[in-house]
Symmetry: C2
Subunit: 491 residues, 2 copies
């Protein structure tokens, strides 16, 4: 009956890999580095999509779709972008296969070689700005607020389900503005949306900040980010929003006529979150018994398991449960009444615990007699007997409580894992012994950042937006510093 | 103020191309054969997606996601499938680019050649059945009812927006069953869903039927289809649902243990509709003034245009319109109040007519005084003056009426363009002079089918499910035939 799940304390990484498989979220496919997202995992992703999509639309963004292929020459047009993205990628060189003459199978038709290779998009700035040149002529065409839900490919050598895969799903927003100020405000607005969604839907507390120059998106003037902390003390970048300045407008010659009739380059942002969020979700809340899902993203919020012998008892239980199911659905609560006779209750208890269903209700002969249900919550594993007359009220409030509780729990963990350090020795010790975010002074140079990374594997996760000015000295070089930044080992 | 749209009677094909561009639905990108779906076009596609997705889920299907890449060897595993799909496709041969040594730009890194080429999926049967082998062991794992929303690539030489593009968006369902009967029922269930959606959401009347052997999906034992008729008398295949037998189960060795413990191959279906539906939608209803959209798929169902001089008048109008907008939204009617002062009313009238907004409401000074609105419906172009007290009722019933009306209109056209013919001469004459579906006897051989295609360009669109047994003789060869089939020229 056990789940045979490795304990987090034994091997966190192994626990994660096993959980993703056992909870039926995803698996690696026969194609190197590419995953299959299984129905249960995809149902969670759909909830993430749905929630974010609504927030984007409420703030005036529209969806569109751009080609999956990017001509090789497009990538070269923005100098720093090509350095960042035109390396490990899938290259389409031919457009036809044919039967081998020796009958050995199908082979690439060398007569069907493309004049210019096509890259499977690793991100779409170039193809989109090539399009925006046609769409933007005047200030009347601005702002242009567009989002795309798409698959992208980055050829990764070391892959992990959801966290780093060759192909992944994401949304990428690409906006165009008349002024620098408006573009910066857009980048920040999106950061706020990401943080709001992470905290209030996913229950994942995040720190908002900006990236250092060396961690910035290739082609951006500023990269805003939200950083989350996993239970093993490692940070995870959960979303980024880039202020791109006029870099792409210049590379693709996108100008607009101002109200005064002058020609000016357009200002840009781009921003994205991906199926990586699934990794953040799993690693923030789950425990040694399996997944723990926030009610707002749980495909099944309530599961009802009948405990019975024989069809007669099941019928009696169903008579009571069927109207409850209807009532709950009317309240937009997703509920599953698992009547399968192919599996025993213990097996089912185990399965839904593993799958992180927030509330499990059991009902047996004695409950029928007493007019009660047994209600178990996944986050605390607590069980209570609830009178049938109070069950709907109980479920409704419990869903809210669980959503809050897992967020507060994760936040308490995060808060207790932000540590101020004032010397490099202390930094190294704490990084190994405690992990989490280390708040330290840094001299602002890429050299120091690189040195810390090489010596400790920790990177600067962000310069928090909330960080206050504070006179100090770089923990490594002793040079003056005006504010603390957050270091951590990261996924 | 004119739309400069070519008339359908002048050049139907040109009219279509212009309309897709001018109504802001889509455009060709800088990548050969790949389109950009613009926000307005994509909003319609999202409604199509949303409607179908709901119907799939209500019938027990779940969404999942499979890799975009298919190893070349997978395609060869099902003999007829490889013939149909492993020809014109995008082939990934390398996974890295590098800077050219002569500084001329970026080039393919020949050291990063893939051992086995990857094909960008033209359809996903092979990669999915390779996965199902791991998922299916026992009858308890069946049926497996999975759908995927995805992009696919088929290297097309001649492309047209929505109708035939190198990359397109679609959904592909892939189901696995314990028995042949259940799989056939599934294929038919999906056909019914497609037909229901086409007729009751898109307002596009369709004929359900089966394909002849030569028009079947590569790897299928039976292909069910829905066929629509465009205004130029050409047919358009709007969706297909395939009974695949055990072909893919055998090719990928997918067996299950029956209740009795025997090992048997699994039975399969696959089915799909694509962004091609957008083409069907446009060509079925639209007219020389632009797009005509069914209310159920219109991103904007009602547009309200104020006619005013000066801010004071606009304020007075807004005071009346703002509560109306709220009221309509409460009723889930999507409404846009276009207050832009950068464009004149005439320009706006034109724009929304071009974009197919079902109901246009205008309100000016005199309407304010009289307590009325001017209501214009897009389908008939009729205008009426409606008292403000009746406006909500009027809009609600008009949306239903327009939805019905455009379907009935399309159906009447379709009905008048199904013609029984009894000789090949008559067939050829009618095909040129009238077009539409020609219902004729056929001897059941691929040779005759091929001959008709070569001589007239007409193909057998389907053997209608509703066709009755009728003794007859093939119009070409005179051989006996037991039922009529539908011929047409097609997109």
């Amino acid at each position: 009956m056990g789940k045979n799940l490795t304990k987090r304390s034994e091997d966190y990484s192994k626990w994660y890999n096993e959980l993703v498989i056992k909870a039926d979220l995803a698996e690696m496919s026969g194609v190197r580095g590419c995953m299959v997202i299984k129905p249960y995992g995809f149902a969670i992703w759909e909830k993430i999509q749905g929630g974010l999509d609504k927030m984007f639309k409420e703030t005036g963004h529209e969806n569109a779709y751009f080609p999956i292929f990017i001509p090789k020459s497009y990538l070269s047009k923005e100098a720093s972008h090509v350095e960042g993205f035109a390396k490990e990628c899938a290259v389409v060189t031919h457009y036809r296969l044919k039967n081998a003459e020796d009958g050995s199978g199908i082979i690439v038709d060398e007569d069907a070689k493309l004049e210019e290779e096509l890259i499977v998009r690793p991100t779409s700035e170039t193809i989109i700005w090539d399009t925006y040149r046609r769409w933007i002529q005047s200030y009347r065409d601005l702002p242009l607020l567009i989002n795309q839900w798409a698959n992208v490919v980055r050829w990764e050598m070391r892959t992990r389900l959801f966290l780093r895969t060759t192909e992944f799903l994401w949304q990428e927003g690409h906006t165009a503005h008349a002024t620098e100020k408006e573009a910066v405000e857009e980048a920040k607005l999106i950061l706020d949306i990401y943080a709001d969604f992470a905290e209030n839907h996913m229950g994942v507390p995040v720190i908002k900040g900006t990236k250092t120059e060396s961690e910035r998106f290739a082609g951006a003037l500023d990269t805003y980010c939200i950083e989350a902390l996993m239970q093993d003390g490692k940070a995870l970048q959960a979303g980024t929003s880039h202020f791109l300045g006029q870099n792409f407008a210049k590379a693709f010659d996108v100008k607009f006529a101002t109200k005064e009739g002058k020609q000016e380059y357009v200002w840009a942002t781009s921003w994205g979150v991906s199926t990586r969020l699934m990794g953040a979700l799993i690693m923030t809340h789950s425990d040694d018994n399996g997944l723990v899902l926030p009610p707002k993203l749980a495909p099944i919020q309530v599961v009802i398991i009948p405990i019975y012998k024989g069809l007669e008892q099941l019928d009696a239980i169903s008579e009571k449960v069927d109207p409850l199911v209807k009532d709950l659905r009317k309240r937009d609560i997703s509920v599953k009444f698992d009547k399968r006779d192919t599996h025993k209750p213990g097996f089912k208890f185990n399965e839904y615990e593993l799958k992180g269903v927030p509330i499990r209700i059991a009902i047996g002969q004695r409950d029928l007699e007493n007019g009660t249900y047994e209600v178990a919550r996944r986050d605390t594993l607590e069980k209570r007997i609830i009178p049938a007359t109070e069950i709907i009220e109980e479920i409704s409030s419990l869903l809210v409580e669980i959503q809050d509780n897992i967020f507060e729990k994760a936040k308490a963990y995060r808060e207790s894992h932000i540590t101020e350090v004032n010397s490099y020795e202390e930094f190294k010790t704490l990084l190994e012994e405690k992990g989490g975010f280390l708040s330290a002074h840094w001299d602002g140079t890429s050299e120091t950042e690189e040195r810390v990374k090489e010596e400790t594997k920790a990177t600067i996760r962000c310069i928090p937006l909330s960080s206050e000015l504070e006179e100090g000295r770089c923990m490594v070089t002793g040079k003056p510093s005006s504010r603390r930044v957050l270091f951590a080992k990261a996924y």
